[in-house]
Amino acid sequence: MKGLRAAAALAAAAAITAGATACSSATAPSAGGKPASDAGTLTLGAALGTGTFNPWLAPDGDNEYLQLEGAVYDSLTHIGPAGQIEPGLAIRWKFTSPTTLMLTLRPGVTFTDGTPVNAAAVKANLDYAKTASPGAQQNTFIAALTTSVVNPTTVRLTSATPEPDLLTDFATGGGFIVNPKALKDPSTLTTMPAGSGPYVLTSSIPGQQWTFTRRAHYWDAAQYPYGMLVLKSYASSQAQDDALRSGQLDGAPEVATLVKTDQASGLHVEASRPEGFDGIWLADRAGKDVAALGNVKVRQALNYALDRPAIVKALAGPFGLPGSLVIPPGMPGYSQAANSYYSYDPAKARRLLAQAGYPHGFTLPVLSAPTADTLVQAIAGQLSQIGVTVKISDHTADFLSQAYSGKWPAIVFSWTPIPPAQNMYELLSPTGLGNFDHSTDAQIDSLLARTQQTQGAEQATALTQLVQAVNTDGWFLLPGYVADLYVTGKDTTCAIGQRAVCPLYSFRPAA
């Protein structure tokens, strides 16, 4: 789940730490239901594929589908521009224990057919989500939840283990509430929504375009100034950019390589804080297939050979930050000292290789995917300067099975380490999703255990030590962190905050 979970997770964790008597609650409901003046039509582009109005079957996490689902459904919570949790359908919340969350729902909200949005509806959704789509993140985190109806506006959620990120998940694909009547035959939701959201679907060409009109008397109408919303699906980022620059679209996600042209055309660019990273996992640290990788000096040499500022500038321009740590700046676990450990020093890299017995370098096979080839080739070009030959093998359909096969000494991967503690466990633990060869390391495993058993400042310290140890031991070749980008037309603004795309409620006509 994308960046925004950071602040929210920390806030929730702090509340849990403070104990059951303290409570984390929302400040006030959002702006209210006063109908806004009609700002016309808002046309947005997104990679929506064939689209679905079943939010529990939509691609998981913080992505463009949040605009499609957010048009017709209300989510339990919202995320503010600074990452703070804000009220949605839930107007108050309280962790009564580390494993129990009480939600108070907004009274008087109805689905488009008049059915009330109440505690029973929330329970019906969360129960349905458990079996809706195997593997999807929004269903996985709900799988361990037990939902109880306390009264029509109060829901109690209990989990076996602490789930401090629930309130964030409820704002990012895991909290859209569908009319329970539609859940009796969810197949209808593929093309026909059944929600309580700000817009109603008026026409659609599945896989191509969806047109919505604003609901009369919506409870939060002031946040949606546009009377009509059109979402268009794009498979090609170049075609989407052409549409933006020709004025066909008012907004769309963007890739870094096209942003410069957009800025020259006078379009607005919104960038999140750089948090995600792509890099190479040096999996064969035992030296099983590539003996050189078994030597820590070799792994450090590879890291010293990377000119991170140059790579980040080439690939992400001003929307990236160089760095070698698996935690980006601003997160618990990041330290500037650790991040400057590998200053660009090819001479030192050659010396380390020579000390390790590889003065003429070696060959490093890397499992890659076509989408990552630009990055891997940039890294390969710099490693060639110290005599290391990178042999790139591209896989697409079977990339994951190849990655988990244990046959590859180095594997390209992409990660967003938020929230940090949970993601470090998923990345590094022997059973973690990112630990492709299920490797163990006494020191790392011990530090990892501490990050899971502690909270607050103690957890932050453990994270810092863990990240530093992984960095020094040369587990990865990471060039840096990249931002998510969103471009709007000259007449439109939006706020991406720490999201992957601008939420629908953040769009406004430009002043």
């Binding site: 594929g49 064939t50 996985t140 268009k232 075609a239």
Partner: protein, 315 residues
């Protein structure tokens, strides 16, 4: 039975085993794609048990021959299965996309055939600077990739001048917008094939115009227009018609790229997205549809050539 009808039935009889071969080859080639659909479609968060359950629900864990026989049985009845990603019937998805690609192909043909005939004939009749200019332009236009032409047209006419939309497709219910939405894709697809066809027409016309019977017709005092249109052009047409058939098939391949460039929801886009998504039923359906179109175009080309040239009917 007329020779043309006889030839048509003969071609159709050959088409059926060919379609069967294409369908079979497509099915078995898909089996060679590495990885299982469950792990690809469900992603990295899915457990092995979930992946196995998903694969079982798709039936891909059954023996390949059993999968093939059930797929073929359904395909013969017109049921190409259900998309693994959108859960929509494959036939429905293809039928929704077909009008877009068909619109492109028909409009391109409407543009290129008359223009190529006029340009090629004019060049054949005026073997001077105009002819050399046509050949130079044609050589240049044929060498340009259609996506490059398309990108240039978008930048100039959509982004800068905003005369045409950069992307998207409007249905035939609004004919003016339909034409507008397809203007740039058609231009991008048409320029190269049109110049190639013009060269073919030029060559065929030069060849026919040099024949003895044309000189005889002229000597007999037939009006030049009659010699040109009734005799020369008609006799030059058979190789041109064959080339048109090839151009039309080439357009299908070009449409895959152009539909991506202009975000047109046609068969090419369906094919590309289904391949990317590992959506095997949709890939099989799209490939089979392409095969049907190839067979149909070849049949129509043969019929048209036979109508234009009686000697071709017995071949």
């Amino acid at each position: 039975m007329s020779p043309i009808l006889k030839m048509t039935f003969g071609r159709l009889a050959l088409a059926l085993p060919m379609l069967f071969a294409v369908a079979t080859a497509t099915f078995f080639l898909q089996q060679l794609v590495p990885g299982d659909p469950g792990s690809f479609i469900l992603g990295k968060d899915a457990t092995q048990a979930e992946i196995r359950q998903f694969d079982a629900s798709l039936g891909v864990n059954r023996p390949v021959l059993a999968q093939y026989s059930s797929w073929l049985g359904r395909a013969i009845r017109g049921d190409l299965g259900t998309s693994w990603t959108s859960h929509a019937p494959v036939t429905q998805t293809l039928l929704a996309a077909a009008p877009v690609t068909l619109s492109l192909a028909v409009l391109v043909m409407i543009v290129i055939v008359p223009l190529a005939v006029v340009l090629g004939t004019a060049a054949a009749l005026n073997r001077g600077p105009a002819d050399r200019l046509l050949q130079a332009i044609a050589g240049f236009a044929i060498a340009l990739p259609n996506f490059w032409i398309g990108t240039g047209l978008v930048l100039l006419l959509a982004v800068d001048l905003r005369v045409f939309p950069a992307t998207g497709y409007t249905g035939l219910s609004d004919p003016a917008q339909w034409l507008r939405s397809l203007a740039l894709p058609v231009a991008a697809l048409a320029i190269g094939p049109m110049m190639g066809l013009a060269l073919q027409v030029r060559g065929a016309m030069i060849d026919v115009l040099s024949k003895d019977y044309i000189r005889s017709l002229r000597a007999a005092g037939l009006p030049p227009r009659s010699v040109l249109f009734k005799h020369a052009l008609r006799n030059a047409m058979p190789p041109v018609i064959t080339t048109i058939g090839f151009q039309l098939l080439g357009l299908l391949a070009g449409a895959v790229v152009i539909e991506q460039l202009f975000n047109l929801p046609g068969i090419g886009t369906v094919l590309v997205t289904s391949v990317s998504a590992h959506d095997v039923p949709l890939v099989q359906g799209a490939v089979l549809l392409f095969a049907v179109v190839v067979v149909a175009v070849n049949l129509l080309t043969d019929i048209a050539a036979a109508v234009a040239n009686p000697r071709a009917r017995g071949r």
